[in-house]
């Protein structure tokens, strides 16, 4: 029995294991380094192979360069499937890795991949000829969609150092050192940022053991194959290093940060990431966790279009309703998170005295309602602070701002931010029928004059009664959808001290806790029974799960579910709550792995 299973996910990137009776290795990896591969080549001309006991067998196929047209590409791809039908493996215990045809055509790639989804791994052929950003992206994503979650995807002969993190982020599991060899035979060294020719080098390019042992002038003097071998060892070390970095980033939930950094080395790679964000956001969103403990670094323009950021903005638009004051207060953000724990917000509080709906302007999130300040990533982002907003940041804030004040009506809006932003706010609000007042004096919203002005401008309005109750309601709505907050809080109280809040019913039963480091609410079994958030329900088989719910046990799961979402599950024999370890789509489709880490379960 062989299988592929994902173990750790970070967006579409994952660490998995490919296992058969003869071998087992962790992905992403260089498959040619880890395993013996028998590639049976094309059907056209037999070529002898020296692999005797292969771990992996690639069945013969009809090679299809992406330069061919769609019809012939389709013909050749269909031939591959036909060949596969008649194919029998000679060796025992090896994994068969069929070739997905389809050239540059996403539609074909997806269809052929679907036919191969019951294999443990597939090979995306000619991917090395698709260096055009869009083609590569479409082909890889189509294959990913086609094969589903239980199949490792192999992109042969394409790995170069700066591309590795991005490929893994796109969902590729298997790479190899073939391009490393090819480049070596061309006297081309892999470098951190791309490649460099031997003759351009004045010293060995890195600190791998081969570069430390060898002198560049000596390498230049070596003959043919020897020279190639030295360069190849270096190239391979570079790739292995990048893979280590990448796996490490996946484990720490920082793959996106690594990708944003590494795409800098080439305009094509940057363009590739931008296209991935702009045209395939759904693919990313579906697999990007809703909540994380880690910091989110928003260092680049691309950070503004990160799935987490878009999701937050989207949910503020669709799943948030303000507490209902007649006045709104616009406040600046702070470096310390959550904002209310910062010195500056402690100062603003002296002015607001709990009056008004507070809205914090910030990049890259646009606008954070006070009630959502602990929610991921509002509490978790970090960005380069220079005191100047970029044009892209301003645009993002502006869009969010317009949306907020189109939906929510106020008698008065108090603008308590720095001049530049204040002007922007005024401009947007000008033609709305509400009173506008700017309260920042001498350009410093923290000055005592400003605070006094803020206090005065709000003095006519009621103080809000229960800030933490509003917060729990909003986080519930954000997390499970509008209405769930009120359902939870009906006949219940919020207790505890911020940010460690609990929801206790008037009957004394505990319904929920706020988990501060994620900024999410964990429901008890009583809590889910009370709220019944249907978008986060998982239907399971007739058994009683313990510790964790495995994917094969899932009958149906909502597509709304993303990794780390708080979920509940129900079957004939059990009802429970826990945290999703994979997306709803993955748990429905997949036959492997932990679907939910269970917190509480009860027999029915």
């Amino acid at each position: 029995m062989s299988y592929f299973e994902s173990i750790i996910r970070d967006g579409p990137g994952r660490i998995g294991v490919l296992k058969s009776s003869s071998f087992e290795f962790e992905t992403p990896c260089l498959i040619d380094v880890e395993a013996e591969i028998l590639d049976l080549g094309s059907t056209w001309v037999p070529c002898e192979s020296e692999v005797e006991n292969p771990d992996l067998v690639v069945p013969p196929s009809k090679r299809c360069p992406p330069g061919l047209d769609r019809d012939y590409t389709e013909y050749l791809g269909n031939e591959n499937l036909r060949i596969l039908d008649d194919f029998e493996v000679e060796s025992e215990g090896c994994v068969v890795m069929p070739v997905v045809g389809g050239g540059r055509f996403g539609v074909l790639r997806e269809r052929f991949s679907q036919e191969l989804s019951n294999y443990d791994a597939v090979l995306v052929d000619m991917v090395g000829e698709l260096y055009l950003p869009n083609e590569l992206l479409q082909v890889v994503l189509s294959v990913k969609k086609g094969v589903g979650y239980d199949t490792a995807v192999y992109a042969p002969a394409i790995a170069t150092p700066p591309l590795v993190p991005l490929l893994v982020y796109m969902g590729v599991d298997l790479l190899d050192g073939y391009r490393a060899v090819e480049c070596a035979s061309d006297d081309v060294f892999f470098t951190h940022t791309g490649t460099q020719r031997l003759e351009q080098l004045d010293e060995t390019p890195c600190q791998c053991s081969y570069c430390m042992e060898n002198d560049i002038e000596e390498i230049k003097k070596l003959k043919g194959r020897e020279r190639k071998d030295v360069i190849y060892q270096h190239n391979l070390a570079m790739l292995l290093g990048e893979l280590k970095k990448t796996r490490n980033a996946v484990r720490r939930g920082l793959l996106r940060e690594l990708v944003e950094e590494r795409v800098r080395s080439k305009p094509e790679l940057t363009a590739l990431l931008r296209k991935l964000d702009s045209e395939n956001q759904d693919y990313l969103l579906n697999q990007t966790p809703s909540y994380r403990r880690y910091q989110l670094y928003a260092n680049t323009t691309e950070s503004l279009s990160r799935p987490e950021i878009n999701r937050f903005i989207e949910r503020v638009k669709t799943r948030y309703e303000p507490p209902g004051s007649k006045v709104a207060v616009i406040l600046p953000c702070s470096a310390r998170k959550p904002y209310s724990k910062s010195d500056s917000h402690a100062i603003y509080r002296r002015g607001t005295q709990g009056r008004g709906d507070e809205v914090i302007l910030t990049s890259p999130l646009g606008l954070v309602p006070r009630e959502l300040e602990v929610v991921y990533p509002a509490q978790h982002y970090d960005l380069p602070v220079t005191g100047v907003w970029s044009e892209a940041e301003k645009k993002q804030i502006k869009d969010c701002f317009i949306d907020y004040f189109s939906k929510h009506k106020y008698e008065k809006v108090v603008i308590h931010v720095r001049d530049e932003m204040a002007d922007l706010c005024r401009e947007i609000l000008e033609d709305r029928s509400c009173e506008i007042e700017s309260t920042t004096q001498n350009r410093d919203p923290r000055s005592s004059k400003s605070i006094k002005k803020l206090y005065e401008s709000l003095s006519g309005y009621k103080k809000r009664k229960n800030r933490f109750r509003d917060m729990i309601k909003s986080i519930m709505d954000y997390q499970f959808g509008l209405g769930t907050g009120n359902r939870l809080l009906k006949n219940a109280k919020v207790k505890g001290s911020f940010p460690k809040l609990r929801v206790i019913g008037n009957d004394g039963i505990q319904y929920a806790t706020l988990v501060p480091q994620y900024g999410m609410i964990a429901l008890t079994i009583d809590g889910v029974k009370k709220v019944k958030p249907m978008n986060y329900l998982i239907e399971i088989g007739s058994f009683y799960p313990k510790g964790s719910l495995l994917a094969p046990g899932v009958i149906e799961a909502s597509n709304q579910i993303k990794p780390n979402d708080e979920v509940w599950f129900k079957g004939d024999k059990a009802l429970g709550v826990g945290r999703a370890a994979m997306s709803g789509e993955e748990m429905t489709q997949s036959e492997r792995g932990i679907a939910v880490n269970i917190r509480h379960v009860e027999e029915l």
Binding site: G41, S42, T43, L68, Y72, A157, E182
Partner: protein, 343 residues
Amino acid sequence: MPKQLEKIMTNIRKTNLPTKNDPKKPVAVWKDKARNNDRPINCLNIILRTTGCSWGRESGCTMCGYIYDSTEKTTVKDLKKQFDIAINKHEEQTKYIKIFTSGSFLDDEELPQEAREYILQKTSKTGVEILGVESRPEFITKDKIKKAREYIPEFEVGLGIESTDNQVLNETINKNSSYKEYKTAIQKIHDAGGKVKAYLMLKPPLLTEKEAINDTIRSIKTVAKENVDKISINPCNVQRGTLVEQLYNKKQYRPPWLWSLLEILKQTNDQPTNIISDPVGGGKERGAHNCGECDTHILNTINHYSLHQEKKYLDKPECDCKTKWKTTLENEAKSHRIYTGCK
């Protein structure tokens, strides 16, 4: 043969044809040396401008752009005129004439009987020993061969067999003839007392370098069994208006290495038939080539071998780029790419 590949070629022709060539002048005429009956002799080469290969005009082989040398219409008069211009270049010591039509010499549509007989007659008067022509197999009849032999006793028909594997012929070359048809044609020619020169193509599109070598060696061995008189290896070159060119432009085709040709000659030297090669565009980017440094040397070696069939020189050439070539042989197939240089 997959209709989809046929369609690709049909579309390419639609875009590139017709061409406006002058039907009154031959395409080219030049002199060189060639091997015949185990010795090098002087040779006159003539390319006549006809309407071209009937298959090439309709769809055609994936690497063949000779059809663009053709013209839309010719008259018998035109063809005679062309031949007159060409045959004027004949000199006393030239004992071998090769007539190409960018199509089939034996196709009556392309070269009407009247014109063909005019050519045969005029050729016979030059006193040459041997006349070489080319034809697709479907136009070959024993009668036509016999007729020609009436004029020139040694009549050699070149057959563009390319490969003896039908999958290769069908799925990479779009040849529209099976090897079986060629075998029949060889039989007919031999039966009628003609000679056969078999052309094999090294490296059709879609094949790897290694597969291409194996395919050609396999084909040589198969063809040699039919007792053909000569085998000529044509390393594929990138011709205008072909599928090969389209792939080449997208860096998905690389003409064969000269090392590969050398390797094939080495491995087939034990075959009973003379094996020759005169790589079109050899050493150039669009023809069979190595790294640029060693190309001339290797082309000379191949040329010398074609004339003298002496194996001992084949092992001589060495160059640093051999590593690159060997890497290609080892890695290209499992890389599932077409190696065209480090991108």
